[in-house]
């Protein structure tokens, strides 16, 4: 997919499916009423995000592309875990090693390498600028 395929919904509708594998074409009112579309089905597929990443990159939006690349990885991570990771990245919530462990976990469990690197970089930055959790006794 490239910039000329944008909008994907218009030019590549046949290739799009939900995170759960439901094709875009199958997203109809009848399917909803027939109970064939569930709550988890209205979520974007990793591959679609990768296509959008390429489109952003080609159009010169490099940082947006990097964000969409991380987003593609996060499609594999459940909602609750996403909220927990966000909480962990807030100031002074975790120690350096806790953040490194988190980074390893999401690389290992979800193959989220870019995000894992981003968390590692956060851990280093937090360590150098005083944003880590320091007082262990409060845990």
């Amino acid at each position: 997919m490239s910039r000329k395929d944008y909008p994907l919904g218009q030019f590549c509708a046949d290739d799009i499916r939900s995170h759960t594998g439901v094709p875009l074409d199958a997203f109809t009112l009848d399917a909803v009423l027939g109970g064939k579309i569930g709550p988890g089905d209205a979520t974007i597929h990793r591959e679609t995000l990768e296509w959008q990443t390429r489109i952003a990159e080609e159009a010169g939006y490099a940082e947006l592309a990097a964000n969409l690349r991380r987003a593609a990885e996060l499609t594999a991570i459940p909602n609750q875990r996403i909220l927990e990771i966000y909480e962990a990245l807030r100031p002074r919530r975790r120690t350096y090693f806790q953040l490194l462990a988190l980074s390893q976990e999401i690389a290992g469990m979800y193959g989220a390498d870019e995000t894992a690197r981003y968390i590692r970089e956060a851990a280093d930055a937090y360590r150098d600028t005083g944003l880590l959790k320091t007082d262990e006794t409060h845990e």
Binding site: P7, F27, D41, T43, I44, L83, Y126, L131
Partner: protein, 758 residues
């Protein structure tokens, strides 16, 4: 000499005690309810060029930033580090930083240099360099640059939709109306955080009832906001605040990395995100580090870009009154919008929070974004009355809709709003409230009554709808948030209860989420769910004749205000006065004796029937005659056919008058008292403001004319004082006079009339 000096001294004392009534009037004006202060850089109360702002610098060693705006890595705070890691294009940086800032500033306003060329340079700049570049521009140059640098070609607007009672039927109705009025995005927020799920739901259902494709969001705490998005109740998020100093950031309980992770999280669920920043926030929070507002904002914007968010809402936002207290504040706010566009970010350009007590000041500030156009001219136009605005009262609100529409029409500028008809609005509001009623019933929420629906359809604000049991509503909201039900259940509920079209649109929003098309920069949807973004609708402004131009069908639509009158129809209307009979008795002769000739304009009583003041011609003529006769002078009525000019009518008639005195009156009511020996444009009395004349005025005019005929002194004619008459009635004057001119018949000259009243 001594006494002079004494009195001078005394005057000085008096002037200290004396207060000027004019200054008192000025003090009472809205503009003087605001606070103005001198710069105080220690507190960050300075717009640009703060004494602590660093000089731009960048050193790159081994492919890494080794110095950024005067700091080396060991001195970096988390923001410097984030910017150094993710925001500076190290390939472009050496050339950009070596270039003269003034030269780059000139490129910004040079129509021969494309947006992409300038952007490529700006990508390699440090925050201090960005500020230095824009500081060379005056406001007009910044506007011109903004027109070129914004990402999406088509400008748009965002609405704020809330209500004090958090009434879902009213919220849905207002959301539907806002959608119909053309807003591309709608944002709500809540008074009680727990209401968020139901408010987000009402905004979604309402907006899609009004127009398919409106993006919606609910501004609440970050985690809750993400949960609402995950449930499919919102399609974008905006209130992810970033700050230019790390202490402010930590006060907001975030870091650049946590915010960046949030951005990716939303995108991973197919939800559009923009961040929020704006001048003044750091100073307000007490952590400005003595830097200027614009320098800190430039840091924010680089961080936004580094986080990979597609856009930002900036332009001081809620802090607007703080930069406005300082010299150059509004220019600084425009500069921050401009920097964001230069970094390739979508911009929702403020104009949302109440910025002034003065309508002049508010509107003048608005023009800086309204005229160049931005991705969202306001980052929240209050589509509800001020008291219902839970964002703290909007800068422009529902009562300003028509003002906004007229500004668009005046300047041929697309401000994102379209005119609507009252009947259509009531219908769509009712349907949105009904749709909410259906969803509530199907999902087992506390019922929305028919009374509520009927009230919401015609309501202006909260006070027009009944109270609800808020305890029961909040319990339902809690359960909805915690439970498994999502937007899919809402779609099913709508479809089951006969709202198939609304269900289809809400479903289409979910389908769009699967495509990810609206995650690209500056994305909105048009009326047909076609995405418009910087990818397929890139701003291609290159000077006159390029870029977005308001024309064609869209211009026709924007100029067609419901209150706009059809000029041709007005001209065509020709109606005689049924109460006035004017029988023509051949050419008027020169009279003898003490008489007053009353000369009527060509259309008087025959092709027209009333003056600009709305007085019937029969009544006016009767008053004139009565005035003349009051002084025991006889009145003779003629019609002048060969001119429609008031002076001409009076002058010609005076030549025929036995006494040499005549009253000339145009059909629109303008009247003159004329004497035969005076030149055409000289006269005894002229009453040029027809809208201000009453029947009493006309009677006095007749009386005075008779006095002149007898050589008696005249008395003042009473007229109303109304300075707005010309403003209100100039169009009617033009149209009525046109009708009079149409009745001119050169060959008929002046005709004697026999008058009878019915």
């Amino acid at each position: 000499m001594q006494s002079e000096a004494d009195s001078g001294h005394k005057q000085g004392e008096d002037s200290q005690l004396r207060r000027s009534r004019r200054f008192a009037a000025l003090r009472a004006r809205g503009i003087n309810k605001e606070t103005y202060i001198t710069e105080c850089s220690d507190l960050g109360l300075v717009i640009m060029d703060g004494p602590n702002d660093p000089a731009p610098s960048l050193r790159i060693v081994d492919g890494r930033v080794a110095e950024l705006d005067g700091r080396v890595p060991a001195q970096f705070d988390a923001i410097d580090r984030f910017i150094a890691n993710y925001c500076i294009d190290l390939e472009k940086a050496p050339r950009a930083m070596a270039m003269d800032s003034l030269e780059i500033a000139r490129m910004l306003v040079d129509i021969h240099v494309s947006r992409q060329e300038v952007s490529a340079i700006m990508r390699g700049c440090t925050p201090a360099k960005l500020v230095q570049i824009v500081s060379h521009l005056n406001v007009l140059e910044m506007m011109s640059a903004l027109q070129k640098m914004r990402q999406r070609r088509t400008p748009a607007n965002q609405a704020h939709v809330t209500n004090w009672k958090e009434n879902a039927a009213l919220l849905a109705a207002d959301a539907a109306e806002a959608a119909m009025r053309g807003f591309a995005e709608e944002e709500t927020t809540v008074r009680v955080a727990r209401s968020a799920p139901l408010s987000a739901l009402a905004l979604l259902v309402g907006s899609q009832t009004g127009r398919g494709g409106v993006l919606t969001q609910c501004a609440v705490e970050e985690s809750l906001s993400l949960k609402l998005a995950m449930k499919g109740l919102t399609s974008y998020a905006e209130t992810l605040s970033v700050y230019g100093t790390i202490d402010s950031f930590v006060d907001g309980d975030d870091t650049p990395w946590s915010k960046g992770f949030l951005a990716s999280s939303y995108a991973s669920r197919g939800v559009k995100v923009r961040f929020t920043s704006g001048t003044g926030a750091e100073a307000l929070m007490g952590y400005s580090e003595g830097c200027s507002m614009l320098f800190l904002e430039a840091r924010c914007l680089m961080m936004v870009k580094g986080a990979g968010t597609q856009g930002v809402q900036n332009g001081a936002i809620a802090c607007i009154a703080l930069p406005e207290s300082l010299p150059g504040g509004v220019r600084g706010v425009l500069a921050e919008n401009l920097i964001a566009t230069c970094l390739g970010l979508e911009v929702a350009s403020g104009n949302d929070a109440l910025a002034s007590h003065s309508d002049i000041r508010k509107t003048a500030k608005l023009m800086l974004q309204f005229l160049p156009g931005t991705d969202f001219i306001t980052s929240g136009y209050s589509a509800v009355p001020k008291r219902d605005n839970l964002f703290g009262g909007g800068n422009f609100d529902a009562e300003d809709f028509d003002d906004w529409l007229v500004l668009q029409r005046d300047m041929q500028v697309d401000g994102g709003l379209v005119p609507v008809q009252e009947k259509e609005v009531i219908e769509v509001r009712e349907r949105a409230a009904r749709a909410m009623q259906a969803v509530y019933a199907e999902l087992g929420f506390p019922p929305i009554t028919d009374e509520e629906v009927a009230a919401a359809a015609v309501a202006h604000g909260s006070e027009d709808v009944p109270d609800r049991d808020s305890v029961a509503d909040l319990a339902a909201a809690d359960e909805f948030l915690a439970g498994p039900r999502t937007v899919i259940d809402v779609i099913a509920a709508l479809a089951k209860r006969g709202f198939g079209d609304v269900a289809a649109r809400v479903l289409e929003m979910q389908r769009q989420r699967l495509t990810g098309d609206y995650l690209q920069t500056s994305a909105i949807f048009d009326d047909n769910f076609k995405v418009l973004s910087a990818i397929n609708d890139p701003n291609d402004y290159r000077g006159p004749g390029s870029g977005y131009r308001l024309g064609g069908e869209r211009w026709q639509k924007l100029q067609s205000l419901p209150q706009c009158l059809d000029a041709n129809e007005l001209v065509a209307k020709s109606s005689p006065d049924a109460r006035l009979e004017l029988q023509e008795r051949g050419p008027a002769e020169r009279g003898t004796g003490i008489e007053v000739v009353i000369a009527l304009g060509p259309a008087f009583g025959t092709a027209m029937n009333a003056t600009l003041a709305g007085l019937q011609h029969a009544d006016v003529l009767r008053a004139l005659i009565a005035g003349v006769e009051e002084e025991s002078v006889s009145a003779r009525v003629v019609k002048v056919y060969h001119t429609a000019d008031c002076a001409g009518i009076g002058h010609e008639a005076a030549q025929l008058s036995g006494s040499g005195i005549a009253v000339g009156i145009q059909s629109k009511g303008t009247t003159v008292i004329q004497r035969a020996d005076l030149t055409r444009l000289n006269n005894l009395e002229l009453f040029s403001q027809a809208p201000n004349l009453t029947l009493e005025s006309y009677r006095s005019i007749g009386r005075n004319a008779a006095c002149y005929a007898m050589g008696k002194p005249p008395r003042p004619v009473p007229v109303k004082i109304d300075n707005t008459a010309r403003l209100r009635l100039i169009v009617q004057t033009t149209l009525l006079h046109h009708r009079e001119v149409q009745q001119i018949a050169e060959s008929r000259g002046i005709v004697q009339l026999a008058v009878s009243f019915h």
